[in-house]
Point group: C2
Chain length 508, copies 2
């Protein structure tokens, strides 16, 4: 006999699956927009996406959800907190309550503002003029403060922003992490730069900036994706200006890549990053698609997978011992004089820069730290919007020893704030920490991974990740997943230890 609670739960599942169906159509509209939409069709695409977004919001705020949740939460379905049903109920409750706290007028106003602000941000960046973007950023900050007031009772508006992307972290937690990194990273950076300078065999980063035909880079990276385990029967590879990964439905994970003729590192490591994301998406349990158990644990854990394949895999010696012959076949002239060791050194070369996306893995988290401090101060009001460029430049000088020439390579570099994504940046760093901890544990369990990679064995690591991370969907939070897998709390030390060990091995 089906109880009332079970019926309510079944109704919820059906409702989630309908929401997922609408969302999956939206995902396709966005994928297509970014990979092949003709310019003349942009405006209508905006209307299509807004229409489906409206339908999705209508479904997600259906008051019956509240009634179904009330019934199911009070039943045995919610008794064991790690059971499928309890996990789905917990996450659905979080999403529903969040949505119900936001007034419809604010949601619509923010959607309009995001569209306009992104447009203005692009124009401002093109003409390298912050003042053009300033009024839009000011409006955005006001609305995000309003949003924070609706979402949380904390006196720190940034708490609510973090909660949008990552549960279980307060501003104080994140501050403490970044404070530790701010203390430790500069010393590590100095040590690595000194090691590089004194290296017996110096790095040849110019090797990666020869003329590499994009079409052959694509061929290499497509084959590499298949070797690493990306399943083309349940995925596809496209092209876009900014690389990204999108799960369009169960059995349909797509990665969009970009290749530049004179920057092999950007093409290959951008691809590795997206492949990492895609392996996670393809490893989620398809039978749970449309319910929280079929979704990634968190943005941070998703990012950890991109970073793990980009850095722990792609920057290992074994990886290049395996892949260099294939690369050299495609680029016999350009790669003819390079050994696996040469490429390994070149891809690991550390060099402070002004650009987050292209940063090496020693300086990367300094870029994130700067954004975290600034966006938090913007929200509290400690930093007036007009002072952002100066504050940005000051911090780059302090942390990386360089000052941007203008806002294009400074505070107009990333589009997150124009998109209303305050609180998103920390997930990058939390993901880096988690990646380092996961890799450390993987090597404890599996032995040295670099040797496996040298034999072309990427399945051992992938299978381990699948059993530790992919298959659990949203069952565990970021912190729980890390603790459960590694026996340790989330921590910055393994990241620093790993970087130090790799660079000592590289340059001594």
């Amino acid at each position: 006999m089906t109880t009332q609670a079970e019926s309510a739960y079944d109704a919820l599942v059906d409702h989630w699956r309908e929401q997922a169906l609408v969302a999956s159509c939206q995902e396709l509209l966005v994928w297509d927009e970014l990979t092949r939409l003709p310019d003349g069709a942009m405006e209508y695409r905006g209307r299509q996406i807004a229409y489906l977004a409206g339908k999705h919001h209508q479904l997600a705020t259906d008051p019956r959800i509240g009634e179904w949740l009330d019934l199911a939460e009070r039943s045995p379905l919610a008794a064991d907190p790690l059971s499928d049903t309890a996990v789905n109920l917990r996450e659905a409750r979080r999403q529903y309550d969040r949505l119900m706290r936001l007034p419809r007028a604010l949601v619509e106003e923010l959607a309009r503002l995001v569209t306009a602000a992104q447009h203005e941000w692009k124009l401002a960046r093109e003409v390298d003029d912050f003042r053009r973007f300033q009024p839009w950023l000011a409006r955005m900050v006001l609305r995000k403060r309003e949003e924070a007031l609706c979402l949380s009772t904390s006196s720190e508006p940034y708490d609510a922003m973090l909660g949008e992307y990552e549960t279980g972290f307060s501003t104080a937690d994140v501050s403490a992490l970044f404070a530790a990194l701010a203390r430790e990273l500069p010393a590590l950076l100095v040590e690595v730069l000194a090691l590089q300078t004194r290296a017996r065999r110096p790095a040849r980063p110019a090797l990666l900036r020869r003329e590499y035909a994009p079409e052959r880079q694509r061929e290499f990276c497509s084959a590499m994706a298949a070797t690493l385990g990306f399943d083309l029967a349940h995925g596809a590879i496209g092209t876009s200006i900014h690389p990204f990964t999108s799960l369009l439905g169960p059995g349909d994970c797509r990665i969009a890549l970009r290749f530049c003729p004179r920057d092999l590192r950007e093409g290959i490591f951008g691809s590795l990053h997206e492949i990492g994301h895609a392996l996670y998406d393809q490893g989620l349990p398809p039978e749970h698609y449309g319910t929280p158990l079929g979704e990634p644990a968190s943005l941070s854990i998703h990012e950890s997978q991109g970073r793990l394949w980009e850095n722990a895999v792609g920057k290992s010696l074994g990886f290049w011992q395996h892949f260099l012959p294939q690369l050299a076949r495609l680029f016999p002239v350009e790669m003819g004089d390079a050994s696996a060791d040469d490429v390994w050194r070149a891809v690991n070369f550390v060099e402070p820069s002004l650009n987050r996306v292209r940063a090496d893995d020693v300086t990367y988290n300094l870029h994130v730290l700067i954004r975290f401090e600034l966006e938090r101060a913007l929200l509290t009001g400690d930093l007036p919007v007009a002072d952002l460029p100066a504050a940005w430049n000051e911090r780059y000088q302090a942390h990386l020893g360089m000052t941007p020439q203008g806002p294009r390579e400074g505070c107009l570099q990333d589009g997150h704030w124009a998109a209303g994504m305050f609180g998103y940046f920390p997930t990058y760093t939390i993901g880096n920490l988690a990646a380092a901890q996961l890799l450390t544990q993987a090597e404890r369990d599996l032995g040295p991974t670099s040797e496996q990679f040298a034999r072309g064995d990427f399945a051992t690591l992938r299978t381990w990740l699948s059993s530790q991370v992919f298959r659990h969907g949203k069952r565990f939070s970021t912190a729980e997943l890390v603790r459960r897998t590694t026996g340790q709390a989330l921590d910055y030390q393994p990241l620093l230890d790993g970087l130090r060990a790799r660079h000592r091995e590289l340059w001594q």
Copy 2:
């Protein structure tokens, strides 16, 4: 002051635009399915499409449409039958009444049956066994008869089937057209074959069956599309197993092409056909998108555009005088020994075959005629489903002098019946007739088009088509459009005259 009728009309327009928005999302799902969907995602794609189809059907059968139509039709908005408002009301009324006559249970049953029958048709074709498909076809015929009973009071069920695709033609009209073609085409075919046999310079069709790399064929056809006027700022070119054209939204017309290494004719003429369709779609008035005035006049007129560019343009001497140098640059070895005259003869070579899609333009309408006679007899019951293969083979022997070896190259060749598309085939022939009449008139107005093509001028013809056909949307029916443009009723004589004249010029 806005009248009640005007308010009702405005509400209708808003409602149409919402339907169009949903339909456009569906179009993208289908385009993506046919051009890049991974195999593993097929099943979910079916669910996405069915979901949006359900939403679309719900909108299209909203009873408020009937109320709005009633109000607007009795007002001055409908007074002038060729005004924008009257045309939109006329077409909306037709669509609405048709949908309201179909019981929901039948619509759903047909949708399920189409999915299953298409699947079974593919399997039956693979194993070359009609009996496997027979029960599904029998079920389909039953349902289509039911549908005909709902849609029309005619004693001839085929009338309702025709009305699905083309208004203003009765079964008797179409029968008369095909009877005339059955009388005239065999004599023309014999004349052309005799001419070819006696030609002083024989055709070299083998020229088109050398090894042509698909990637270079694609390069040629993409450049050709741009030269003919396909606008890539409002369109894109993809790849699929069966070439097709799809209007995904205003400013977003896409063509999917296919290239075979050893069949240049198929690649280039398939592309020309789709480019013809696409030029029409891109020429529809975008400001009317979502309303009947922004839609093509009819399937036949759409087909006429595909056929016009495929045959009247692509099989002219001038076309090859212009394009051969470009083709020869891409295929210097394969095309090195061919003159424009050689290619012109090769692409026009007539040869009866068993395959409709690959048929030359003299025999093409005989293939359609056979399908028309058979599908009509299936619906009346004069032809039992079990006897279809024998009847098919008999007619191929009678009209084309050949008998298929099995159903794969016989009655399982086309997927139309599995898709429930009875009454669709005649639009191919009506389109061919219309194309010939349009070209005859164009040459009266513009002078010999082949000479324009030789100069690379395709804009003169395109502009003429735009003013005569494209810009009118659904204002005129097929017959009205032909009469208005050419001063003549729809007729088969210009097609026969044109074919005879071209082949006499070619082979004498």
